[in-house]
């Protein structure tokens, strides 16, 4: 009986083991990485700016241009887990006087008059088993821009970080890399100084930040 496979089949078999398997593995790993670890799947970057109702709110104009403090609107950032999304009343505090006839602010006025809250689209959305607290981070020297990026430059807000747990742990393991003095917390363009590690260690001491063994406990964020 003639052989079913000719000699070349051996080479193909070997090739498929030594090249094919790694290639398939590589593809699988890439797919896994892309869908579970990449910035793309978490919609990071200006290309994924989150469209807001009524044309949205320009942080670039209010923070970058008018130099408003973050806490004017996000007023519970220092006392609560939630930084707070401002009520329509907060908007109207200025806009009953400023640009009070602007068609762009029609949706804000409608909300105020009709008592219907504005339904903003969430930009940073943590899973329900993660309990992030703004107040402690702000109190212990983590600035807004460390997670939210340079908000002052964003006409429409987008994510600058994918918020993977490994990224959280980068800081919880070695906070000195990111700590800044209290005066710089709300500075949206803060850049670390050249001797950040040295400064950071000093700040860590000053803030009384606990060691990484404690900061990386599961119960710090999960419960």
């Amino acid at each position: 009986m003639a052989q079913v496979f000719n000699r070349r089949a051996n080479t193909i078999a070997r090739l498929s083991i030594f090249v094919g398997v790694p290639v398939v593995l590589l593809i699988l790993i890439s797919v896994w990485w892309y869908y579970t670890r990449s910035d793309w799947v978490r919609d990071v970057g200006p290309a994924h700016a989150v469209v807001q109702p009524g044309g949205g709110f320009s942080h670039q104009l209010h923070v970058g241009g008018l130099k408003m403090d973050c806490r004017y609107c996000h007023n519970s950032v220092e006392v609560s887990s939630s930084a707070n999304i401002p009520s329509t009343e907060t908007c109207m505090g200025c806009h009953s006087q400023v640009l009070h006839e602007s068609p762009k602010l029609e949706f804000v006025r409608n909300s105020y008059v009709n008592e219907e809250p504005i339904q903003w689209n969430k930009v940073h959305d943590l899973p329900k088993f993660v309990y992030f607290n703004h107040s402690i981070h702000v109190a212990k020297g983590v600035g807004c821009s460390s997670c939210h990026g340079n908000i002052a430059s964003m006409p429409v807000v987008y994510k600058t970080q994918a918020l993977y747990m490994s990224w959280c742990l980068d800081c919880h393991r070695a906070p000195e890399q990111f700590l800044r003095p209290q005066s710089e917390i709300f500075n949206t363009t803060w850049t670390p100084p050249a001797d950040q590690i040295e400064q950071g260690l000093k700040l860590k001491e000053e803030y009384g930040i606990r060691d990484s063994l404690q900061l990386t406990n599961c119960s710090i964020c999960h419960r």
């Binding site: 707070n84 907060t90 008592e115 504005i118 969430k122 402690i136 404690q214 119960s219």
Partner: protein
Amino acid sequence: MSKETHDIQQNSGRSYWRSLDDLVQSSEFQERLAREFPQEAAELRDPVSRRSFLKLMGASMALSSLAGCQFAIKQPQEKIVPYVRQPEQVIPGRALYFATTMAVHGYGIGLLAESHEGRPTKVEGNPDHPASNGSSDAWIQASILTMYDPDRSQQIIKDGQPSTWAEASAALATAAAAAGSGIRVISEPNTSPTLAALVASLPAGSTWYQYDPLSADNTSTGTMNAVGSTNTIYAFDKADVVVALDSDFTTTGPTALRYARDFASKRRAHSAKPKMNRLYMAEPTPTSTGTLADHRLAVKASAVGSLTQAIAAAVGVAGVSAPSLSESESKWVASAVKDLQAHTGASAVIAGETQPAEVHALVHAINAALNNVGSTVRYIDPVGTMNTGINSLAALVSEINAGAVSMLVIADTNLVYNAPANFNIAEIIKKVPTVVHFGLYQDETSELAQWHINAAHYLESWGDLRAFDGTVSVQQPLIAPLYDGKTLIDVVAAMAGNASSTHDLVKNFWQGVTGTDGYAFDKNWQIALHDGIVPNTAAAATTPTLATSFKAPAATTDGLEIVFRADPSIRDGSAANNGWLQEVPKPVTKMTWDNTAQLSPKTAEKLGLKRGDIVKLTLEGRSVDAPVFVVPGQSDDTVVVHLGYGRTKAGRVGSSVGFNAYAIRPSTSLWHGAGVEITKVGEDYKLASTQMHTDLEGRDYDIYRAKTLDELINPHEEKHAHHEIISLFPEWDYSKGYQWGMSIDLNVCNGCNACVVACQAENNIPVVGKEQVWMGREMHWIRIDTYFSGDAEHPEIYQQPVACMQCEHAPCEIVCPVAATVHDAEGINNMVYNRCVGTKYCSNNCPYKVRRFNFFQYSDMETPSLKLQRNPDVTVRTRGVMEKCNYCQQRINEARIDARTQGREIKDGEVVTACQQACPTQAIVFGNINDPSSKVVQLKALEKTSYTMLDPLNTKPRTSYLAKLTNPNPELGGTHGDA
């Protein structure tokens, strides 16, 4: 049963047992224990049930995909919805607490309700309120679930058709005007001064009846006959000897929380020279208070009268002769009397509301003879209405029969279900031309009414109530009525043609009372709302004038006696649709989702009955079928049935659960009576009692420790030598930071279940249903284990709360293949839900059996109203993950973050766990064991009593116990019960 009793008699080697099966080590029990989860393994091998299992899985998979869990790579876009106008003081992410008041048998219990952005999620006791002292019970804890119950009545109904409040209020006013003096209102007891004033404004001749199937009428009548006053207040914090005559005073009635606290304060033996009070209890069936007793005498309910008479005769109450008693009874009475007489002015005798008025009258005479009046017993002006029981209902019935009633408003009380069986109340109500039903549910009674008005829950209502001592507190709503419900004040006001809001009515009433207005009033009003009490409103003390002659209580009845009792969990049945209360294992029997005909082991044997048999109970020609449960420590010749079950229109949870004991409860034998017939009609009723889910495995001393006060003061030689055990596991460094620990004082725990339900409310713990409980899949993070010791007839009964021990050497952690349960630096064994893959290895390896697994999607993720109840600080678990107690991690984190943002350390007592907060006797203490000044450290340092469970396993639990202490009278021998 005869074999079992024989075995019991033969058995003397074991000191504790959990159930009668355990005591005799029946083969069924052993087989059940051998399986980790009853039935599960066998079920999978059995082809039929395996198929149905797969079918079930298929169905739940189909459901979960229908539920909107579409395949998506990216997270769905979520909305974030801020306020239009943010209310003052509301900070998103931070809870607010408001004082309010809940009615228990009509009396106010002051509460603090936790509100998250406008939705109440939990209630706690108000520390400033005399009736709660900051604690609560299972009933109060579960009330929050009732508010969010999707089965609540959601609209006004007229003749079966939806209607509106505008129509209803107009119709009420018209009907009331037409009815004139024929208006009758019957409600559950209510001490609201505003409501009383409104009812008084109804047309002349109209009457307000109050009816409670669990009324304490006997108490008030007896007190009135004896001392000319209706309201008695005991000061158990001053009583060294307490004699309770069928009185479950630490868990029953509007005074229970206060009495439990006061009683426990006399029971702590922490000082160098420990002292304890002594409790004598005579009762037909073991109650929570009975488990605290030093000398518990199981007697027929009808025998309590003779005991009281004997005590009265012995302490010298004029004109009372001593009845003849059995040997054990007279021994118990003699010792109790001697003890009482040795503590005149510092003792107290109390009778339960189930005992007839004559017993109560005698009790007051006894207290007077013992010089207790003025010290441990005082009398005050009446707070509530005296008649809230059968007399009041009988008067209404006779008025209806006489045709005097043209309009009847039935408020909050479910007469068709809970009226005495011989009243035939449904037919009576049909005689009234206009019937208005007002209540939280469309129930058995609402069917007979032309109008049904849906009630607002107390957390949705304005109102006012008086506490047991008369203190007024304002009921303040936490949320706008979910279904636009009305209050009884609204209904009565509408009848009187008054269209003001409840808020205005209450406020105006108090404005009238205080005689102030404007700022002067508003300021005090705001203070009263904030504090939860109106200062200086307690009722004045009255000087009792003791009657000169007393009627002798009825003699003990012969033969089998039926005893009706409120269910320990769902009480009168009004909360039957509350899953938390249905599923919480009842004290002592650990029964869930059912009531039973309880028999003592001897009586069961005599009648040839065993657990799970179905019997027909016949009383005065009416009968009901009930499953049998054999209860150790119950009196012989007694069938105890609990009220509250067998509802037909309770809702999806509470309908068709258990049997309706009201159906055989005659007005002549409200609490107990002779002449019951019992016949077996079936067997093998499936009872979901959690008592048989675990076993001591012969490690009694390591699990539960009990000793007498005498042994504490004069310790015997230590039988159990302590060995230093070396661990193979690396030690953690626990010297730094906060190290959390807990101490549970077994000496004051009465097993009331407040902690169990409080934990359920705090930690979003689901309800699983009877079938799942029967399989051992209950989800409670904290359970109360009941242990018995001694013989089956007169056991000592012990209660032990068990939650995760937070072992320093945790056996669960080392077996988890995915590191889903790991230790944290503060000594807490963390459970990471998002890592858990559901191997259940941790549960297998847990010696305390405190881990709970979500076999199915137990948490209701669909019902909108139930979602509102959830604590936003705790993850709602999904199917397939393990869960367990984590010392209320969310509360620790909140305190830690607050302390750290303010640059300080957490103070002792700043973190209070949910179980600790609820506990009426303050048995649970939690704190930082690295802080030498903390209370928990001081308790753990009590060498003679503090111990950790299963110490030889070297798991180093963070939760320790203080041993149970009893203070037996040396004259009665070492143990109680066998007096």
